[in-house]
């Protein structure tokens, strides 16, 4: 009896449709923006992995990195192969588990990350002039909770 008298269901799905649609397009466009600033064959995924290792510390295993980015481990194998070919990482044996590896950032990897951040800077500063930083910061908790929900409810 506490049902509202509108004919639409309580959770009007159209808001979510539009939400996911906007998110998808932003993902696509921001990816293109980032990649326009990166050296030739390097993608956002490459930068993201290097950035992750630079911020949280290297020595992680491929699987740990794959889990951090919610991608299959086969995808991470491919991404890491590209980073190794570029000279940005090296792989070392994992003393704790001989099946595994530890990924280390090289000097070139750190330099790549610093340079990319610097090249992206002007774009982000211009963005900050149009999109208030507070608005972006205010949206983050919502996006985090949405991501967490989706993450916890995969593949029922």
């Amino acid at each position: 009896m506490d049902k509202p008298d509108t004919p639409t269901k309580s959770g009007d799905p159209r808001v979510f449709f539009e939400l996911f649609n906007e998110v998808g397009i932003i993902s696509q466009l921001s990816r293109a923006l980032f990649e326009a600033r990166l050296p030739d064959g390097l993608l956002v995924t490459h930068f993201s992995v290097v950035n992750h290792l630079a911020r949280l510390g290297d020595g992680k295993t491929p699987l740990e990195i794959a889990n951090a980015f919610q991608v299959p481990k086969t995808t991470m194998t491919h991404t890491l192969a590209g980073l190794e070919k570029a000279g940005f990482i090296t792989t070392e044996p994992n003393a704790d588990d001989k099946r595994s590896k530890r990924i280390k950032l090289t000097k070139a990897g750190h330099a790549f990350r610093d340079q990319a951040v610097q090249l992206l800077g002007p774009d982000l500063e211009r963005l900050a002039q149009e999109i208030a930083l507070e608005d972006a910061a205010a949206a983050l908790p919502f996006l985090r909770s949405l991501r967490t929900y989706l993450d916890n409810n995969r593949a029922d």
Copy 2:
């Protein structure tokens, strides 16, 4: 001289880094969620195109549809080929321009769209129980403005 006394730059880029990171993961996870509800070989892109034609009217050209989704026309050729093979669209000659086509939704295409919306309903209702609809609605204007900004500032 109006610079704040913190060492970080005025537009701290880390907020945007995290913002785009969350958006990317949400895009990826929501895509997977949607596709788990769609018939075998059909992707979110297929649904999105059919939904677009159902909501805004069919008879659009492939290029118009490609522009609406910000994808290259070659990608749309591929997507439309899949939809035609599935029997959800037909192509008719464009009387105004013989190089072009007009894309029409078939009955099966409408049915596919209605059924997909219905199948997605329970997921979205469950989502609405965890993520307040008001929060989603509140985030939309910000996401729209971000998308618009990125859209207007592509490829300088």
